[in-house]
Symmetry: D2
Subunit: 308 residues, 4 copies
């Protein structure tokens, strides 16, 4: 089942290989310049902070369908232990085992390959068990702080949440932009709200997983045209399930990560942000969404915060 | 070996129990008001971002001395797997097992207890194996964004790094404040540089661990007077080893976390920040240092970023 | 909801505290004497070996209902790595994260407590996060090899498998003994087959979990009378679900582990053994079922083998 | 650094590919016939059981030199939790993260490859991150019970333990056989004692790791001639360190696992067994050493027991 010609044509149009040099490992994050960050800081008017991460717990969003992507198993290794003798200060300590993409996360650029290639033409087999991602590991991303723009597609389309299977198109994104009253520009991080995460928050993780709205195969071209630095949404996989085009699975991953070199965020809880933006009638803000620097990581948990 | 009267007197002077109500679980993070954050955003002049986390890898700072606080074991569960058939988009996925305080981290308020009590008088035994921290878990902290101030004690004292065993006193902190040309104020996050982390960066993790500079038992009172929201440094345990007062172990943990309810950061790499601040002759900046929201966590990895 | 008087009366009748001294940590395993093992070896006539463990894999028997008892997450840390240079011998290496009681396992004596006590009157709070089980950890059990006797209750009652909720009574056990043509005696390990594991083997792990046959509260007294060293069955929890007596949960665990000090095995696959015993018309054999010596473990995976 | 011709000649002489058919995945374990097991059971005269596994604990034999092969991190997920309400039976539950070859273990046949091949000519790349070992995974081994023979080389050579770097040769093995008064034959499991593990038991795990006695490159041919089913010893890696032949690393692994298809055991504590055999002047016994059935495992913890 090779990828169809439609995919390859889109791939050509959004391809960024070589754009920041043959050695580049961070792709569109290069678009976050100091100037972009300065302007992002200027958007802060109220000082209100809205965290966007889901709680990390064993009862997380994973259902077992994605093999090995386990919800956090978080256990205590010490509880009030008086290591220095009875009556001394006591400490508690904990450990976790989890899929790096189990909860609210960034996909790193090495998370997917197609046709044997990663972003910037790196060979797919440069990802190994003992070394993990030799190129474009999440530790390379360093520091993701930029202007965030909420593209509240659900609100723009007048629904609480988009239907399962809904394809978020460029037209949808522009409707959200119009609602926002702000034009997405180079270096921005677009947060695209479908409302799908309400299903998880309401206790139905199966319904959250499937069927799901997600990005149309046409969306990456729009992101490329606007030169966004990254995109996140409020779904489990970012993609539409069932797929927009029969038998074409995860095309947006391949276009975003491999061709454009653009990180993707998933399982971001945009509900409170949606309320806040609607109340304040402003949709641009400072966004800090730092990857945990796992060396060679193909993804990473992230605890993003929007500062309005 | 009960805690000495000197400790108990200091404890009384810095105690914040009840200050934000009997139900409060976040302590001095209450001091980060919207106004503080607005002013923090205003400090951004260059847009330069400096990440402060150490890479997360098996060869991390832990030496095995702290039982169970294991360095990250990061493995691949899928490498370029074509889940939807040959020739389709391929995905890689990874998992980690690690101590939540193994690398650059925040101590949550439930990390230590003394005399059977946690912050705000909660019973120490409210930390359990299956529930973890019932009160003041790191997920409660939500969003740590504030003004950061680098207190570069090593530079202020004219040394590359402080000696092992050096007690960072209020006088040292004020020398660093003078160098910084900025007065630490309510809601600030103080980043206190000793230079100790150079030993780890240079490859000697045993020397990094011991002997180590750290905070004098007198420092918490200074933090309390200035009403800082949090303090982080560039050492393994925050404390002085060997201890400042014989047989008094981890007094600063007990004063900061239990009495004041003030989060502590450890293993923060402040070397690049020190260079940047010295170059730009400015020591205050926007700091984003979001806890990963582990439900009931007594600590959390953090990937802090200073935005200058 | 205190334990009812019926429970306490049974507890008194099966109690073994002090029987092997106040310091004893292995309970009924003391009954496996050298003579018992010699006789067990004499039962070997064919040399046929039948393994009784379920495969260890992520798709194991756990459904998430028992918090933290995670199925094995088994990942590679090295795949054909030529550590000593290109062309040299290459090695692969793997790691696992799993609940010690996730698959085919022994419950250690410290797995349950009631009324604040463990086996032999030890305080329940001697189990801690950092030290785990201070008394009766599974590493103390050392070496479990004895005569095994299959009590094939399902076959004796003429059914493929017992119904969910069926209480295995002393009468059932004696019917199985009659079928076996062998009397259970001191030091034996009784393997009690309900057939319930067929549901898991057939792909329905929810049905395997609930409803389930298990041991009647009257069974422990029979085990006590026969002085068996250990008992294992082919169910998820050993107990009847829904419970035999309303609101009395896990009474058999409390009687077996706490009062008698008798290890329990769960998730043992007795299907092939049932066929073999029926074919050979013999139900006693050499059983080796060695605990993995986790220091302070309250349970342990086991890969038992019956040698006929 | 290709493998030298000396290696390739030995490889040819011990090669078992195709011997048990092209589909075979268990190699020399085929030699353990029912008759072998029957005779093994007949060796039991005293009923005495001697366990051969090291305790599983964080302070295990691993020093960090083998990347990712982590000592067991064993933590509690529940401690005396009354899941069904106050006063009900309370349960404790634990989990572990560990390298499958961290402690006393079997190397599975898929643990090493050379020249792109595994045992029986299978391609090395059939080991993958998501599937692990597609061929010869440790779950295939099923049930390892056979006659064990202690070849106590240290005792035969009149030393407490062999020197670091000592190559255990066929001549050494025959000296031990003579001491044992028993000839190793087809299907036996040879336990070869060097005494090296005394260093670990005495607290010096660095010395245990290096330098180490191990098998001469000539030993596999002897094992092949005797048609043993498996071999275990009391060292960290089975091999000699520093190597017997300069720049030829792990040749015995390649000969045993890849060419012969013979499992290897490491970190087996043979000290108590050595005492018992010397006392009883008998060196053959029933050995049960069941692999934990990790699906696709390249190694497995094992808790072996010798029954004398």
């Amino acid at each position: 089942m090779p990828l169809p010609s439609e995919f390859h044509e889109l791939a050509k149009r959004v391809n960024n290989w070589g754009r920041w040099g043959g050695d580049d490992e961070i792709g569109t994050l290069n678009l976050i310049t100091d100037a972009v960050v300065r302007e992002a800081a200027e958007t802060v008017t109220s000082g209100r902070r809205i965290p966007l991460a889901l709680p990390l717990q064993q009862d997380g969003v994973q259902t077992g369908v994605i093999p090995g992507r386990v919800n956090p198993l978080h256990t205590m290794v010490a509880i009030n232990v008086e290591f220095f003798g009875p009556g001394t200060v006591a400490t508690s300590d904990d450990v976790v085992t989890m899929g790096l993409q189990a909860g609210t996360h960034w996909d790193g650029l090495a998370h997917v390959s197609h046709s044997g290639r990663l972003y910037n033409g790196r060979p797919a087999d440069s990802v190994t068990a003992h070394g993990r991602a030799a190129f474009s590991g999440v530790e390379k991303a360093g520091h993701i702080v930029s202007r965030g723009v909420l593209l509240d597609v659900a609100r723009a389309l007048g629904v609480d949440r988009l239907d399962g299977g809904h394809a978020v198109t460029p037209e949808d994104l522009e409707a959200a932009e119009e609602l926002a009253g702000v034009r997405v520009r180079s270096g921005d991080i677009a947060l695209v709200r479908t409302g799908q995460i309400q299903l998880y928050l309401g206790g139905d993780k199966q319904a959250y997983a499937y069927p799901s709205p997600g990005f149309s195969i046409r969306a990456p071209e729009w992101f490329h045209a606007r030169d966004v630095a990254a995109v996140a949404n409020d779904t489990l996989t970012f993609e539409i399930f069932p797929p927009e085009i029969e038998n074409l699975w995860m095309p947006v991953h391949a276009l975003d990560l491999v061709e454009m070199g653009m990180p993707q965020g998933q399982n971001w809880n945009l509900e409170a942000l949606s309320e806040a933006c609607a109340e304040q009638r402003r949709y641009a803000f400072l966004l800090a969404a730092m990857p945990e620097p796992f060396v060679g990581g193909t993804g990473t948990p992230v605890a993003p915060v929007a500062v309005l």
